[in-house]
Symmetry: C2
Subunit: 257 residues, 2 copies
């Protein structure tokens, strides 16, 4: 059984999460939607357990459930201002790359060096809604298993196949060669509007770092640089917003088939 | 000239901002894009002023610029983890409702009781990019002039006409009667996909509270309940994301005219 110190460490430290293959999900939704077989341990504050006694039994046969933690001590575990009172320690999900990409016409998101964990998590959530096949994250991306990113996924972290890669350009080339997937990147040099391209065949969108956009190498590897037409004096959309607008345009085109 | 205590109060307290008609914008971008005539006071940390001496002169003729604040003292003013070192006290912008709605075919956002200041700010930013005519906020919305919302606007707060209203249903009816604007709300009871409606005429989108969605009264007042088709097990999109997807779909249709 993990100690409080272990759990605090898992919440704060990416290396600990990577080494142990575990992460800590906060809140009820992430507890309820977690694949039972992957849950390692559950912690509840006294108040939470008192208000939701039904939660205590749910996983008792599968795993260790500690349901009598003093509220103040529980609060000290997390950075959340108003913790819901339940933490779930979970083994990181593993997805099969070949199986994931086996279907026809995949729709793929490539996140290159995104810095904001909220953006990374929100993109996973939106990707599930838009029917995205897989999300790839470069190794310089904010950690999807950090508490903030995990919360922002609203449970999609369990269901959207996601994979880590060292860099975007090699992935873009590999997707083109192995799967016939064309990669598109929203870019200042892009000339065609994103609504003028067709995403009905296998397609990938590359989303770049919040401050710097996508790297030159990734832009060069892409089949097409596109732009999201913007009015006013706006220089760029929020990275998750740009991702959402692109994914739902692809979904719109695919539904219209 | 405002004291440190006054400024702290403006940063933390909505009532103080409402009563005084002032707000405090953090960071360089919001300083540089602020309408000069509305700036009341500028504060810089010693380090910031040393690194950017050109900023000191920019508004000196218009307003009070304090450029010698000890870094630790400056940091104590804000909640930002790594403050950029510049705060701008600004009079809230005022927009003319009649003038704003005078053009044909307005595209309008109605934010009903949104709770997350980051969502409110992000919607303003995205609204500018999507060419939205005006954003309306109900009085139970998170304050657009709070530091978090202001930062998320990335400067759009100065440029996107926005208005406060007591509630959404009356506004929806007023927009229909006075301006011929049809209001659409993404709703669980919605049957038509958002991509099957036409937003080329005057249109408004109602975005509801993050937890509860839009109120029944607002849903009833709307001309049409729509839905954003979602795959997987996702119950809803993030409120700002839903707003962005709808605004850019309207923009796509309008560009195609």
């Amino acid at each position: 059984m993990l100690s409080f110190k272990d759990i605090k460490f898992l919440l704060k430290n990416k290396k600990a999460r990577d080494t142990q293959g575990l992460f800590v999900a906060e809140g009820r939704k992430l507890f309820l939607e977690a694949p039972k077989e992957d849950v390692e341990q559950v912690l509840m504050s006294k108040t939470f357990a008192g208000m939701h006694p039904e939660y205590i039994g749910m996983l008792k046969e599968h795993t260790d459930v500690i349901a009598d933690i003093e509220d103040a001590r529980f609060a000290s575990l997390t950075d959340t201002k108003t913790p819901q009172g339940i933490l779930t320690v979970i083994r990181k999900p593993h997805f099969d790359l070949q199986q994931t990409l086996a279907g026809s016409c995949p729709l793929i998101m490539i996140l290159e060096d995104l810095q904001d964990p909220g953006n990374v998590g929100t993109i996973l959530r939106t990707a599930e809604a838009a029917g995205v096949t897989a999300v790839f994250l470069t190794e310089n991306c904010a950690d999807l298993y950090s508490p903030k990113a995990t919360r922002a996924t609203m449970g999609s972290i369990y269901r959207v196949p996601h994979f880590h890669v060292s860099n975007a350009p090699e992935l873009i080339e590999w997707l083109q060669e192995q799967c016939g997937v064309t990669s598109y990147a929203a870019h200042l040099r892009g000339t065609r509007s994103y609504t003028d391209c067709t995403y009905r065949k296998g397609s990938a969108f590359v989303i770049g770092n919040e401050g710097n956009g996508i790297t030159d190498a990734a832009a060069e590897a892409c089949g097409e640089l596109i732009r999201i037409p913007m009015m006013g004096q706006v220089e760029s959309l929020n990275a998750a917003m740009a991702a959402g607008v692109l994914m739902f345009e692809a979904q719109r085109q695919r539904r219209a088939l």
